[in-house]
Structures are given as C-alpha cells and as structure tokens.
C-alpha cells in the first residue's frame, strides 16, 4: 500500500475500525505506527513475490496468466455511482445514473463488466483511459439528446453504514468531466 491509499476514506475507515478493536484489548496504537507496520509487511512481501516470479514473467505476460485476484477482499463502504448530466440552456438534466431505472440512458453499456472496470478503477486525477471513456459517453449522449449543449460524466461517492448506524448523507462528486458539443 502506498501513501495515497491511506488517504482513501474506505481505507481510513477500515484502519480506524481495526485500531478500535486492538485498542479495546488494551493495546494503545497510533495511526502512523499502524501505517508503518502495514508498509513494513506489505513492501517486502510484494518485493519477494516479484523476485520469485521474475523468471516466469515473460510467459505470464505473453499468456496473460497469473494468480492475482481478490473477490471483494473488503466491502467498499464508500461506493461510487456513475452519473451522466446534460446541459440544455440554463438547465442541468440527469439522464443516466447507475442502477437507477429512472435514468436509463446507456444503462446496459455502463453496467457491462468490462466498462465498469474502466470507471470504477479510477483513482486520483482523472486522465488517460477515464478521459477517453467520458468522451465516448459524451458522443453517445449527444447522439441520443440532440438538444444537449454539454455532457458531464461524474461519480458520486456515498457512505454505506450498517442498518443501526447513523447515516451521514455524505455525497461527494468526484471525477467530473464536461464535454461541450462544440468540442467535436
């Protein structure tokens, strides 16, 4: 894990919960200690694995084989919902929202597993693949909505809590990119 990973809210929350458990056992901890502990374990293990696999790397790359997967190792308590908005005059209109049948534009495409990987994996400043993906969404949206002057693709991060926990109504707009029709 790198420094940027520790600033993600789901990682912070996860860390906080485990630290709370350890502290409840009477072992005092501080955040920086835990971070260096995680780094000190993760770094050498990752490097050792990389060294062990190095002789076979060529075969793995050529065949796309390997053993790297994690089936929901952590349940993301700060999930993101993809949204597509259009601008018509002074109005902003929501036309697509993931898993919301009320806004079904491009629903099938955006739910497709290979497409989900493209926008769900974005971290940091949106660039490269994510930027091209949003341009593609914008092109399809301009075709479907000739009245649209611009298209904005964004993700809204929410906070899932367990049923008895207090909801904080957190909604943070992230990775918003706007494409003007005149951009071509």
């Amino acid at each position: 894990m790198n420094e940027a990973s520790f600033s993600r809210p789901e990682v912070r929350e996860e860390l906080q919960r485990w630290m709370g458990l350890v502290e409840a056992l009477g072992i005092p901890l501080d955040r920086s200690q835990v971070k260096s502990l995680v780094k000190s374990i993760g770094g050498p293990v990752g490097r050792a694995r990389w060294r062990a696999m190095k002789p076979f790397r060529g075969i793995f790359d050529l065949t796309g084989t390997g053993q790297g997967w994690a089936l929901f190792a952590t349940a993301d308590s700060h999930p993101q919902r993809l949204e597509v908005w259009i601008g018509v005059g002074d109005e902003e209109v929501l036309v697509s929202r993931r898993a919301d049948p009320a806004y079904p534009h491009l629903a099938r495409e955006l739910a497709f597993r290979r497409v989900r990987g493209v926008y769900d994996s974005v971290t940091g400043k949106p660039k490269g693949t994510y930027r091209r993906f949003t341009r593609w969404v914008a092109e399809r949206t301009f075709e479907a909505y000739p009245e649209a002057e611009w298209v904005r693709v964004q993700q809204v991060r929410t906070h899932t809590v367990l049923p008895w926990e207090k909801e904080d109504g957190q909604e943070v707009v992230r990775y918003a990119l706007t494409h003007e029709r005149s951009d071509g």
């Binding site: 919960r17 796309g64 993301d76 999930p79 919301d100 593609w136």
Partner: protein, 318 residues
C-alpha cells in the same frame, strides 16, 4: 504406498476426456457470449482498439506496448480483426476443431485484449486464460469434437483415455482461487467484529448491485445477509477440505470411518452444491457479467468422467 509413489501415480493416471471436454465447451461458449455482448454494445473499438483508432487505452500507462499493436498497424479494422480472431478461435475451441491450436490461439489473443486495456480485464478473465492454457495440453479435444470425428469417424471419439492431470490441475486452480480469495477477506465487515455486514454493504454498491437493495436493512433480510457473509467466508476458508475429500476418493481401499462417511455421502458434491448456490446468488443479485457462469463452468471438472456417464445413464433411463 510411499507418499512419493502416490504423488507420481496421482499425476500419471488416465481417464476418459469427457469432463475436460465439457469444461472446454462451457468456458468457450461463455466467453463467446461475453464477446458477442462487446460487439452488440458497440464496444469493440473502445476496448480492443488503440488510442489513435478511438480506443480507450492510455499509451502512457503501458510498460511496453501490446504485442498486437507492434505487429499490426492500429486502426478500427485492426480492433475488429482482434475481436474476430478471438471469436473464431473460441468457435473452433467449442467445436473441438484443431483443439490444442485453437486453445493456444484463444490464450494468446485473449492476453492481448487484456494488455490493450488492463482495467477492462478482470480476475475471472485471468482464471479462464489459466484454464484454457491447461486445456491446450490436455487431450480435451478427443471427445465431443470435430477432431474426434475426423480422427475416429465418431463425434464421441474411440473411447481413448486422456491424462488425468489437467482435470486435477484445474480443480486445484479453482480451489487455490477460492482459498486465496478467502484469506484475503480481511475487511472488518467480513468478520464477526464487523457484524458480518460485508454482503449487505456490497449489495448497496451501485457499481455492482443489480438493483436497489436498501430494503435489506430490515429484519429478517439483514440477518440473512449476515448469514450469507459468514457462510461465504467459512466456505472459502474450508476449501482445503476438498483436497482431503479427493484424497479419500482416490484411496478408498485404505478404510477408516471418516473416509467411508466422506465417500458414502459424497461430501465433495455437498461442498460444490454450496458453491453453485453461492454463484447463482451472485448471478441474481449482482451485475458481474460472466463471472458466476464461468466459475460454474469450471465445476464440470470436479465431476469424474465416470460420474458424468452415470448421470447420463440416469437421464436416459428416466
């Protein structure tokens, strides 16, 4: 029997290629449907095309450019050619035509698709490539195939055996996948301390949930998701026990109460049944594409070729 002799014998046995052929056909057809969906959604160029042809890949993110686009000039046609070649190789694989070569072509082309746009390639894609690679060397084309028809005059071959090791390796691969998935579930909500809330939280994620599952917060639905979380974790952690079941099945002469009990009640099938339920549950509640179906496709390898024959006989009789 010494452990070494047992180990050598285990990987040196032969059996009818029926189970391997079923895995070949199932996985090829499942991936074929996935690729047809790519075309139907008009995503061939975005996913398989180079940046200059309108694809989504980011050349700056490559450690080295994908081999395909170093050999072939990037264009819309090149993206469609990659898609078409992979589809053709999968059709040949499912039909069992030039089976080993078709399977190798699937692996190499599928790997290029992964390299072109890594974020569109999931863990299940890697698992399928692993299995296709094993199948290429397995003799899975000796049954239910064009190859069998050409070689023996019958679609079902001449009953010649194939090595057992590929089927056992596929089983081991799937078990390793489940076990590592289990030990990696270190998220707080996968544990009793986090109230086994993981499944509930996952089903609130709009990126993967099939529909709105906010109603799961009510009793008794939330408790059911807790049970689902605990069973998932226990089931994945219990994976090594399948190795014991298979060891017992391969050494019935050794006796013992636990072995007899395992064989009598076919415990390996019960473990698999939980897996079937688990993946069908995923298929119903989450939008993960081919994942649950491909996993169920690998389960065909867990059933011995003679057990498939018995199943077929029972179906024919009824």
């Amino acid at each position: 029997m010494s452990p070494l002799r047992y180990w050598v014998g285990l990987w040196n046995q032969v059996e009818h290629p029926r189970s391997l052929a079923l895995v070949r056909i199932a996985l090829a057809l499942i991936l074929l449907v996935d690729l047809l969906e790519v075309a139907w959604l008009d995503l061939v160029v975005p996913i398989m095309g180079a940046e200059e042809a309108g694809g989504w890949p980011d050349p700056d993110a490559y450690k080295s450019p994908p081999l395909y686009y170093t050999l072939i000039e990037p264009s819309v046609g090149a993206a469609w050619m990659l898609w078409g070649s992979l589809v053709a190789a999968l059709v040949a694989t499912a039909a069992g035509f030039a089976t080993p070569l078709s399977l190798l072509a699937v692996v190499l082309l599928y790997a290029q698709v992964a390299l072109i746009l890594p974020s569109a390639d999931r863990g299940i894609d890697m698992l399928m490539r692993n299995i296709f690679l094993v199948l290429a060397f397995s003799g899975c084309g000796r049954w239910a195939s064009v190859d069998a028809r050409l070689r023996t005059g019958s679609w079902w071959g001449d009953g010649a055996d194939a090595p057992s090791w590929p089927r056992r390796l596929i089983i081991l691969q799937v078990l390793v996948m489940y076990f590592t998935a289990g030990v990696q579930k270190i998220g707080y909500t996968w544990t009793p301390f986090g109230h086994f809330g993981a499944l509930y939280i996952l089903l609130q994620d709009p990126a993967v949930a099939r529909t709105d599952f906010s109603w799961l917060a009510a009793t008794p639905w939330f408790q059911l998701t807790q049970l689902g979380t605990a069973v998932t974790l226990l089931w994945e952690w219990s994976t090594p026990i399948m190795l014991l079941f298979f060891y017992y099945r391969s050494t019935p002469e050794r006796g013992g109460r636990l072995r007899a009990w395992t064989l009598r009640y076919k415990l390996h099938l019960w473990w698999l049944a939980v897996g079937v339920f688990f993946h069908l549950g995923i298929a119903v509640t989450m939008v993960l594409g081919l994942f649950p179906w491909a996993m169920l496709g690998t389960y065909l390898a867990f059933v011995h070729p003679e057990e498939w024959r018995a199943v077929w006989r029972r179906i024919s009789k009824s």
